[in-house]
Amino acid sequence: MTNLTSNLTENFLKSRSEIIFLVGSILTSFGILLVTVGGSWDITNHLLSKPETFFSPPHALMYSGVAISLTGVVLSFIGWKNLQKFRDSYFLSLKVQLIGIGLLTGAGPLDFIWHSYFGLDGLLSPPHFTLIVGMFLCSIGGMIGISRYLKFNNSESISKYLLILAVIPVWLSASGIISSLSLPFSSTDFFEFNPEPTIAFIIASLAYPFLISLSLTLIFRLSNYQFGLLSILGGLFLLIYSSTAIIPNFAMFDTIQFYSLNLIPFIVADIFLKLNRSKFSLFFVGGLVGSVFYMVYYPYVMYTYNEILLGKLVSPSLIYFVYFELIQTVLVYTLIPAIVMGFLGVMFSDRLSKKILMN
């Protein structure tokens, strides 16, 4: 009887292994999505100095996300172990997920030890950076797994919407890395981890445009040029950012109308690529979406530029005043580099998509 059950389980695992691997990758990506949303919300709560306990909603979201990702990686491993075909092809995804989840779960105890010795930490600290890199790697692993599954199984258009879930955590966690290296939120009693203002200025001006362009053109290529995914991905990013960074701050609520306008370049880019997906068209789109990075990363990107251009005290109700005071100056300094980085994002997405899809 035991042997029979064991054989049935083994047969089930073997016959469904690829689906199990896919579900694992989806859970890994979804978990990281929750962690990034919770993280962004948590930063806003800290800036607003909202009373916080361990059981705050952003923390609940983040820890649920870690648990879901951990489950996802375990499922991916079980699926991969029982794979009958494409074993080597899925190994990269599994490997990256395993390294990512190792860093992600290891960051917890490291954070506890850090807090015990040095009290509260800022945005950038060794445990936080370990956590964000772990999130980034998990999301990359999940993205590779989902993309390869869709390719190997010649999935229909409708399944390609899964790519949104695959790419958005990569975009958000990479944004987290850039933010922690450029925002001046990391000064504590023990350590001054705030980035040097000029270096922060350069990092933000180059990395954000590159990332937007890379994320949007990557989903376009991974989906085999499907119309609509670029707009939905961009729209989802705006929705997540607005609901975690703008809506919780009542003083900024009126600026939602400004922020929602950022959907326009995404939709126009999507339509242009539907009409013509030549290199020129892709470069135009990359330059366009790269050039709007200061608007897309409203409001917190302002803190980086304020450090070097204005040096004002920015309390929560003054965030949008300082942001709008800076907008034209920032664009004068960053527009051309942002467009160039948008082009580079397009070029990199070409190489990356070929690597992911094994073309």
Partner: protein, 193 residues
């Protein structure tokens, strides 16, 4: 022809987007009125004269009469002390953040700049802070002071609302300037040997 029209439409919409987000909306938002917090406080000093070794009490009730304040600060400084030590004990504290003890030589903000302009502390102080503070909410900060030398014992009290968007965003509005170049209300107690 259709493609041309779609491209044209796309470029017009993009132009509209850039004009709106870079020129029109920022101008509009910058014209909106900033929040103006108006902190005030009332103090009750238990004694104006004590004997060395005795204690007196200073009760401070502060309130924000203006708009929502991102930060509401009540600062109490002791210009006759080198360090606070056991001389000052907090009896009541109703603020959202823990009190901050400032020692001589520390870098502190000045001229109501919230830290943009700084100076060096010449005497110790305690800062009580709430982040944020809604209008008409009272905060209590009561101190028990036991001076360790005889003579006149002075205490400086002030309150600041952030954003410091007006001359009424601090209290008192005039009087003696402290080491931060900010107005303070002075309370003095004679300590007899």
């Amino acid at each position: 022809m259709n493609k041309f029209l779609i491209y044209l439409g796309g470029f017009v919409i993009l132009l509209f987007y850039f004009i709106l987000t870079i020129f029109i909306l920022p101008g509009d938002f910058l014209l909106t009125e900033q929040l103006i917090p108006e902190p005030t406080f009332q103090t009750i000093l238990s004694d104006s004269e004590i004997i060395l070794g005795d204690s007196f009490r200073l009760d401070i009730v502060s309130v924000n009469n203006g708009d929502y304040a991102d930060i509401h600060i009540v600062s109490v400084a002791f210009p006759d002390l080198i360090e606070i030590g056991d001389v000052v004990k907090i009896a009541t504290y109703h603020f959202s953040l823990s009190p901050s003890y400032i020692s001589i030589g520390e870098k502190i903000g000045s001229k109501y700049s919230g830290g943009v302009e700084t100076t060096i502390a010449q005497y110790p102080s305690i800062e009580a802070m709430s982040r944020p503070l809604k209008p008409n909410i009272e905060t209590h900060f009561d101190l028990v002071v036991t001076p360790n030398t005889s003579g006149i014992f002075n205490i400086y009290v002030k309150s600041i609302g952030i954003p410091h968007s007006s001359d009424v965003s601090h209290y008192p509005y005039s009087g003696i300037l402290d080491h931060q170049n900010e107005y303070v209300q002075v309370h003095s107690v004679t300590v007899n040997p």
